[in-house]
């Protein structure tokens, strides 16, 4: 009998895991003892970190797309379809474009994040973002025309993808406007939902003085409640109101409805054991990357490391062994501090981050990694 491993989602976590399994279980796959299926709702993988650079004219959205078929080992069955229902009792999945259900013995949910701009009245009409291809492209046009006024970067809600990106955006915008001789005519304000400038206290402590040096105004305990596109104001739950000329936001994030509908967690995030990554509400179900509610950042490095853990655990289970691999919270992240300098953090559940001094070398290291990312997706790096 063939054991069927199904991965839902072809982002970083899904593709790294698929290739990890193709390598780790090559003997079992060749013998027909195991089958691996990767289901994604489109034929391409989208590498979202590219979007940060699009508004500044440094990258194009196409730079962040590759066909999944080129990234994933031929031993894996890659299907383009959308899972519409998960029956964790019957261990079956319904698909949008197929009349036939898929059964699984082991399910891995790597369904990622979605944006929920509609939760904030006026946001879709009044705000821009760089957390989507369309948003980043539209923001590029706005930024090119922006030569004076008040730019507000508002982080609305948490968790969100890439927790460093809001800091990166204002640091890069500050530098970009300075290089173009416009900074004296542009005020930059950064708002954050809690009482400091980043969710992680160590990163907040490092970033706050940098923001002061760069004349980036900060508003903390600011949870945007509504946007008035006509008056160009954003109002917070705490009663503050900010005028803006250009509003850039990190919109509210949610997982996919599929997760909540299956009773696996709220808001589309799967409740998991943060070490084993096993779903709490169902057996033979794992989650990784953004979809897993582990409390660590929703970042590509996290998905990458978690995929290795899930790959080891699944291989053990297929072989009738006790799985022992666990995720320790490892996260690494580059943080751009301008157009040609960056910092770097590495941390886990036990050890907090200590941001490295910004340098040009780290900036180039980040760009080099972004270029070589496709090797990670293919399971080579």
């Amino acid at each position: 009998m063939t054991e069927h491993i199904v991965i839902v989602g072809g982002g970083t976590g899904g593709s790294v895991l698929a290739n990890d399994l193709a390598d780790r279980l090559d003997t079992e796959l060749d013998a027909g003892e195991v089958a691996v299926t990767l289901i994604n709702d489109g034929p391409e993988q989208v590498y979202k970190p590219v979007w940060l650079y699009v508004p500044f004219g440094k990258r194009d959205p196409d730079d962040g797309r590759r066909p999944l078929a080129d990234l994933v080992d031929d031993a894996v069955d890659v299907r383009t379809d959308r899972v519409t229902d998960i029956d964790t009792d019957g261990q079956r999945l319904q698909l949008r474009d197929s009349m036939d259900d898929i059964s699984y013995d082991h399910l891995v949910l790597a369904t990622g994040s979605t944006l929920a701009s509609e939760e904030i009245p006026g946001l879709a009409e009044g705000g821009h973002d760089y957390y989507s291809e369309d948003g980043a492209t539209a923001l590029r046009e706005e930024l090119l025309d922006f030569s004076e006024g008040h730019l507000v970067l508002s982080v609305i809600g948490s968790p969100h993808m890439c927790p460093a990106a809001p800091l990166e955006f204002v640091f890069m915008a500050d530098d970009w406007f300075r290089e173009r001789g416009l900074r004296e005519d542009i005020e930059i304000t950064y708002t954050y939902p809690v009482q400091r400038v980043h969710g992680n206290a160590h990163i907040a402590e490092w970033a706050a003085p940098l923001m002061d040096e760069r004349q980036i105004t900060t508003e903390t305990f600011f949870n945007a409640d509504s946007v008035d596109p006509d008056a160009q104001t954003v109002t917070s739950m705490e009663g503050a109101e900010l005028d803006y000329d250009l509003l850039v936001t990190v919109p509210p994030h949610r997982g996919v409805d599929l997760i909540a509908d299956a009773g696996l967690g709220d808001d589309g995030w799967v409740d998991v054991d943060r070490h084993t990554l096993e779903a709490e509400a169902a057996t033979d179900v794992y989650a990784l990357g953004d979809a897993a509610a582990t409390g660590v950042p929703k970042a590509g490095s996290v998905a990458h490391y978690q995929a290795g853990v899930v790959g080891q655990r699944l291989a053990s289970e297929v072989r009738g062994q006790i799985p022992t691999a666990t995720y320790d919270g490892k996260t690494i992240c580059f943080i751009e501090t301008g157009m040609d300098a960056a910092s770097f953090v590495e941390f886990d559940y036990e050890n907090p981050p200590s941001p490295a001094p910004p340098s040009e070398k780290l900036h180039w290291a980040k760009l080099a990694y972004n270029e070589s990312y496709w090797l990670t997706a293919r399971g080579l790096v």
């Binding site: 948490s158 009482q195 409390g295």
Partner: protein
């Protein structure tokens, strides 16, 4: 122990800072005025985060029950 009967409960036990506070804010965002939300948190920083935010947002922190393994916060939306 308080005898407050909350309208909604947010169980953020196991979440690290600022997760519990953000979970509370998310629930308060959806709540009508007068709604009492109970937040369960085992993150020590919630003891300072939650009162600070409730004060900043003008909501009433009705009570804090400090337990051995977690704390319960009762916040009424103004």
């Amino acid at each position: 122990m308080t005898d407050i009967d909350p309208d909604r409960t947010v169980d953020a036990r196991g979440a690290t800072c600022p997760g519990p506070l953000m979970d509370l804010i998310g629930e308060m965002r959806r709540a009508d005025a007068g709604t009492v939300v109970e937040l369960l948190s085992d993150a020590p920083q919630s003891l300072t985060d939650v009162p600070e935010w409730a004060d900043e947002a003008g909501n009433d922190l009705l009570a804090v029950d400090e337990g051995d393994d977690h704390n319960a916060f009762y916040v009424e939306k103004s």
